[in-house]
């Protein structure tokens, strides 16, 4: 999946501080039987967002007034643990979430996010706590500057670090496959030599 790149994002952020939010909660199993990626915005946090009649639950944060344009989540530790389902990441992007700020992310979820242009930022616990406290008190928009590797909200400025390849992919909105296919000649040349040396695989 290709998403439009960005180097600076200013948007409403929602603070969801629970620890160990798993991909079953992010995208419940009734949304896994498809054959394409469509229709997953509805599935995001489905069993929390909607009541048993399918109506939005007004108590859930993303359903509250002021969060209609939420594009950033500020989450608790070990976010995205459990099943490898990439549907969790697809659902985030289809709903409109572009970045998630936490302290730690489960490995497969982090790979899946990187492969889809969903920005994950890990802060240390102290910085994360300051950010969460600030947002909870004021409900203001937050700015992520990928170029400067900083998060800004009002007068609060928090630096973060990110793998350079992942940063570049987010900023340019790189199509990963397109990026690799730019090396198609190198792959073809490698394959020719490789199969010549291992003819039992040709």
């Amino acid at each position: 999946m290709t998403s439009k790149g960005f180097s600076r994002l200013t948007a409403t952020a929602a603070v969801m501080p629970a620890a160990n939010v798993d991909t079953d909660v992010i995208m419940p199993k009734q949304f896994l039987k498809g054959i394409d990626r469509a229709g997953l915005a509805r599935g995001l946090f489905h069993d929390l967002r909607f009541d048993s009649e399918g109506q939005p639950d007004p108590a859930f944060l993303l359903n509250r007034p002021g969060f209609e344009d939420c594009r950033i989540l500020v989450v608790g530790p070990n976010f995205g643990c459990g099943s490898s389902r990439e549907h969790a990441v697809w659902g985030m992007l289809q709903y409109g979430i572009r970045a998630i700020v936490g302290t730690s992310f489960a490995g497969i979820f982090a790979d899946n996010a990187a492969n889809n242009g969903l920005l994950l930022i890990s802060l240390d616990e102290e910085a994360h706590a300051r950010l969460a406290a600030h947002l909870a008190a004021r409900h203001t928009a937050l700015t992520i500057d990928l170029e400067a590797e900083t998060i800004m909200v009002d007068d609060l400025v928090l630096p973060f670090a990110i793998d350079p390849r992942r940063r570049r992919a987010i900023m340019l909105g790189l199509d990963r496959i397109g990026g690799t296919l730019a090396h198609a000649d190198a792959i073809r040349a490698f394959q020719t030599d490789y199969l010549a040396a291992a003819p039992w695989l040709a």
């Binding site: 999946m1 290709t2 039987k33 498809g34 054959i35 394409d36 990626r37 490898s84 990439e86 697809w90 490995g107 497969i108 790979d111 899946n112 492969n115 889809n116 390849r165 199509d175 990963r176 496959i177 690799t180 296919l181 090396h183 198609a184 190198a186 792959i187 490698f190 394959q191 490789y194 040396a197 291992a198 003819p199 039992w200 695989l201």
Partner: protein
């Protein structure tokens, strides 16, 4: 003289198309050439949708093979009709993708249909020194042949199909050596369960795990597959066993295996597929084979396992870090601390999965079941690892032993290992299972899973409770 390298590093080096950063060793990013992949109907559909949306083709269709295994029925008289409409849609789309992109596909009624990680090896398509990446975490199985196998998500399946490569980060290396000889009744399953118990469910996280030692070398290829398959349950992304003559013997006569002069050429290259003397591992663990007993799990994580003559642990006596997990697991499993494992009664028995449903697994179970009957009230079923295994077992008369004992003799598929079809535990049902994961709800919502070897499943089935296979005299 080049510095000594591990088997893992040798294979990665041979598949490096180009570097993607300037780090050497673990953390190196590189573009990795992938030899082969196997596709299933449940993790691949969006990969193909992505190719269609971008107007892309498959780089090397002959490097992929598709097998329907996760959502299909295992009913003895099954037809091409899937258990439910969603499964049917996934199966139909899978077939269409094979046709449109030129990939060989085994549908439900294909004579070689089966669980993907059983089917590929029996075709002779897994040979030493390969990189195989596939949309299933148990792709580690191929380490039994000295090949790097690892699981990937759907986006990476799409990337692999379009480019025959993956951006890859080199892992750290770890070696577990199991020296000595195992006692009678102790199998490959018990060996890997003992390893997982010893190092923990995340014990090999971030590492390529090489398994070595006399006890590993003494195993047949099917036992080695069981070990590498389940290595992912201790967090290993890759598992490897040095290939030897047993691999060559296994490949002999298989339809897709190299033959004649090509095989001789291959053998000269494969001779170097070993960790050099003096190769450095980031971590080493030694286990004495004589200390390993038949194992069962008591909890809801694969590392919550004990020798069968043990008892349900008392959480209060466990280290603080394990206490809360143990309490939750014991409550979910409906057990009592201090209870002997052999006193735990079962409702269901299942022999199947990519871990333990090959011919040698079925033979081991049949040895126990010969002349015995499944205990009253226990529903027991066998789903052979592949349709080929099913035919071979029938040719040996194993099916007659199973049905006489009261086991259902079913068709092949992932079945009750993860309950994506209609083979499901009812809430509260307890199952002795030859599979690989005892997670909450894995075999059905509220279902309770005890992992063990196929012979131990057979012993439990005829006893009506978890039972020590060493105390079941062979007829």
């Amino acid at each position: 003289m080049p510095s000594p390298r591990t088997l893992y590093d040798k294979i990665i080096d041979r598949h490096r198309v180009m570097p993607l950063n300037d780090i050497e060793g673990p953390g190196e990013q590189l573009l990795l050439y992938v030899d082969r992949t196997v596709l299933n109907e449940y993790t691949s559909p969006q990969a193909f949708s992505g190719l269609r949306e971008a107007g892309r083709t498959v780089w090397r269709p002959e490097g992929a093979l598709g097998v329907v295994d996760h959502v299909n029925s295992t009913a003895p008289d099954r037809t091409a009709i899937a258990p439910d409409a969603d499964a049917q849609r996934q199966i139909d789309y899978f077939a269409r993708n094979g046709r449109d992109f030129g990939i060989e596909m085994y549908d439900v009624l294909h004579p070689r249909q089966g669980v993907e990680h059983v089917v590929l090896p029996e075709l002779g398509w897994v040979v030493p020194g390969l990189v195989i990446a596939a949309g299933d975490s148990h792709t580690t199985t191929y380490g039994a042949f000295g090949s790097v196998g690892f699981g990937i998500g759907t986006s990476d399946i799409e990337h692999l199909l379009a480019t025959q490569t993956l951006p890859y980060t080199r892992l750290k290396s770890m070696r577990v050596t199991i020296d000595g000889t195992v006692a009678p009744g102790v199998t490959a399953k018990d060996m890997i369960m003992a390893v997982i118990r010893a190092i923990g469910a995340a014990g090999a996280h971030g590492h390529a795990l090489e398994l070595a030692g006399d006890a590993v070398r003494a195993l047949g290829i099917e036992g080695r597959m069981t070990i590498c398959n389940m290595a992912v349950e201790c967090g290993a992304r890759v598992a490897l066993i040095e290939p030897d003559e047993a691999v060559i013997d296994y490949l002999s006569g298989r339809p897709k295996a190299p033959k004649g002069e090509l095989l001789e050429q291959a053998r000269r290259v494969w001779a170097d597929l070993r960790s050099d003397d003096g190769a450095r591992f980031d971590r080493e663990v030694h286990i004495d084979a004589a200390d390993i007993a038949p194992m069962v799990t008591w909890g809801t994580s694969p590392d919550q396992a004990l020798p069968i003559d043990g008892a349900i642990p008392d959480p209060a006596a466990l280290p603080a870090a394990e206490r809360q997990d143990a309490e939750r697991a014991i409550a979910y499993m409906g057990l009592t601390p201090g209870m002997a494992l052999e006193a735990v009664t079962i409702d269901r028995a299942f022999i199947g999965s990519c871990t333990n449903a090959r011919l040698t697994d079925l033979r081991a179970a049949a040895e126990i079941l010969k002349g015995r009957k499944v205990a009253p009230g226990v529903r027991a079923m066998i789903s052979p690892g592949s349709s080929t295994v099913r035919r071979e077992a029938e040719a040996e008369g194993l099916d007659a032993i199973f049905t006489a004992a009261g086991f259902e003799w079913r068709q092949s598929g992932c079945s009750l290992c993860l309950a994506m079809n209609d083979d499901v535990l009812a809430p509260g049902e307890r199952c002795a299972s030859s599979t690989n994961r005892n997670f909450e709800g894995r075999q059905g919502s509220g279902g309770r899973t005890h992992l063990m070897s196929p012979a131990m499943v057979a012993a439990a089935a005829v006893s009506g409770h978890l039972a020590d296979v060493r105390r079941m005299p062979l007829p």
